[in-house]
Symmetry: C2
Subunit: 426 residues, 2 copies
């Protein structure tokens, strides 16, 4: 297996002003493709630190992946460090310079030659020229999202790949150019799939698939809990794709048998996309009435492209007055049970269906905190209402954490309850 | 200055299944207290990798902070690595063993002596005993949130601090015990503040405060661009807090002079919180009408605790029918100009004010993509409408990127335009 070191550069990382998500992305993708990532390292912007890491990593890794420090500003010094570590000369690439010009002009800006910067051992260059310098003989990777191209060269026997630090530029460069170039020589096929669950805590998922998670098993299985959902990640290694697919399909069947409808989708499917798929399948149109979630349910659902065909209306009725006037919640109901009650949740779901003509109404009302909790209705108590084909039900849920977390989990739980209701619809 | 290396351990980090947020937390806190963090490194669970990092870091750092690998499971091997790196014997601490017992029993579990694990050079021990082993002479840190205590010892001349990897255990141990113990000897005060801007690209901010960003200046100044906003971060070092505050206040004045109302707030203030503050100051109530942003404006604004006093209603009218029926947008207007037009944006903002009685109406309608663009109205074109005290205006904006980015930037721009309008209100 190829041993990999991933190096991220930037003062914002070593001072803790930013979290390094680039390294995890790369580690996850490279691991999925059979590389063994041994070390992730963040260093600041001084070229000496990066040079030391490069030289050290060339000793114990066959592949070094570096992000950051290729841009136009004074603290972008990866080129200098690479030149020092390799002893290679930095050469101006005319085609890349032309690319930098084109991108800057497409933003409606002009290249200002006045912004000169000095490269160690080189004459002063403009910002644009700085981004078109590469070690002699380097493999250059296109950048479809920004100015600075990436490149690869050798440090001793190790292959070193340099990419910009801006996540979307880095991710598309890695997917489109770097990974295909790395995989040219590989003989093993790796297939990665993920089953996504909602409503089952990670520790329970862990317990129920202990057998699948045994060390050395193929596919190897890992868990990824994020925002209330749990992903079961499967990595199959095989000599060809057909065999890899067979191995994965077998495990997915086992997972589906054990977790049933708690599996809401596969790979990058979100809860909202699962709901959207069911709306399409059933020809059902949805309307939403939100209180404590303040528009989150709507904004999650409208993340799905094309949802406009099924999404009629979302009314965020934060005040009691708006609940009464817009959603026709009876004032006595709010008085008797409080705005955060299953009764009001049901009236909200019913009301928004009547307003819009939707077959499915989803509502949420509760106490997002940090204030407003009582012993009977503590912070984190949220009532979800569902109205489907004229039948209305409600669920009282309790969430923990801060305001943001409570709102997020409440919105996702509402979507999940809507999904389960649509699955049961005949 | 004390040079610091932060080491995080765990297979989940080097395989990219988890993002290392512990290191950023520690880097940020240590930087704020005058330490110079030079390197963050993640390694897997094998004790050899960690041992190598410890030995190397003891060479070029005076302080090494390690998180993870102190727990009860088989992949927790930080103790072993430390014992090897220091040559110190691991000794059972009876008080810590008692603590582990108490915590486990408070969870309603029993200590199972059957779960034995083997430490290198030691006899098999129970999980509980494993967590009560420390290098002879170590300083032990209490853990108020879990079983595994932390500790500090010397590796050569460097002080090495070991903490659990579970974020809440680590954070409370760092704040309550580790930092106070480190600061006992420090003489310097550090103050960190941030000015937040919206509507000015990072490169422009960079150009306009080049003088403040000069190397070696005090306060030192860095930029942090995130989600369309740009933060100017100031780090002042001084012998006392009064002097640090004076230095920061001077720079904040300069920034305010240069960027005026584009500065929307300081430190952790969000755009939504800035808007909320102005609503309170002016006694203005807000209502929102959204199309392409699908509830995002409302969900951002309702992230602010206590906003319910000023937030009346948000109507997500995704369909033309809902725009006409709920928001009373004239059907002819949609026919003539299209749903994504300044005319419709104005009618939406006006309509939602009439519906709710709010003094301020904010609306957004546009093309979020990926489909639906035309040469006249490309993907990313968003019209924002504002109605304040009966006067309605609109703005046509163009955003780049994917659907999520376009929606996010459109929602924030709408909030920013509302903020600027409130600032101008007499």
């Amino acid at each position: 297996m190829t041993h990999v070191t991933i190096i991220s550069t930037g003062e914002e990382l070593v001072t803790g002003r930013a979290v390094d998500t680039n390294a995890s992305f790369l580690a996850s993708r490279l691991t999925a493709h059979g590389y063994e990532v041994r070390r992730l390292t963040c260093v600041g912007d001084d070229p000496e630190s990066l040079e030391r890491e490069l030289v050290r990593s060339a000793d114990d890794s066959e592949l070094i992946v570096v992000t950051g420090g290729l841009g136009p500003t004074a603290d972008d010094r990866t080129r200098v460090a690479i030149a020092r570590a390799t002893g290679a000369e930095l050469v101006l690439d005319e085609d890349s310079l032309e690319h930098v010009r084109r991108v800057i002009e497409s933003y409606g800006h002009k290249i200002t030659e006045s912004h000169a910067r000095r490269f160690d051992g080189l004459t002063a260059l403009s910002k644009a020229e700085g981004q078109a310098l590469f070690p002699a003989g380097a493999e250059i990777y296109p950048n479809h999202c920004g100015t600075a191209r990436g490149f690869a060269c050798l440090i001793g026997k190790a292959k070193a790949v340099m990419m910009p630090g801006v996540p979307n530029e880095m991710i598309s460069m890695f997917n489109d150019s770097v990974l295909p170039s790395l995989l040219k020589d590989s003989t093993e096929t790796i297939l990665v799939r993920r089953a996504n669950l909602f409503g089952v805590p990670e520790s329970q998922v862990d317990d129920r698939i202990e057998d699948l998670m045994a060390n050395g098993r193929n596919p190897s299985v890992g868990l990824k809990a994020e925002g209330g959902a749990v992903g079961i990640c499967l990595y199959a290694r095989a000599s060809d794709m057909e065999e890899a697919e067979r191995l994965i399909a077998e495990d997915l069947r086992v997972i589906r048998d054990r977790f049933g409808d708690d599996v809401f989708g596969y790979d990058d499917t979100t809860l909202a996309a699962a709901v959207s798929g069911l709306l399409e399948q059933h020809g059902v149109r949805v309307a939403i009435a939100e209180s404590c979630t303040g528009g989150l349910i709507g904004s999650m659902l409208t993340e799905v492209p094309g949802i406009s065909r099924f999404f009629l209306l979302d009314v965020v009725a934060y005040s009691n007055e708006a609940k009464i006037r817009e959603l026709r919640v009876p004032a006595e109901e709010i008085e008797s049970f409080g705005a955060a009650s299953p009764q009001v949740a049901e009236s909200m779901a019913r009301g928004v269906c009547e307003m819009s003509g939707a077959e499915l109404g989803i509502s949420a009302t509760g106490i997002a905190g940090p204030n407003g909790g009582t012993p009977e209705k503590p912070v984190g108590m949220v009532c979800v209402g569902l109205s489907l084909d004229g039948r209305t039900t409600s669920h009282v849920l309790q969430f923990r954490g801060d305001r943001q977390r409570i709102r997020d989990r409440a919105a996702k739980s509402a979507l999940n309850l809507a999904r389960l209701a649509l699955l049961k619809r005949s």
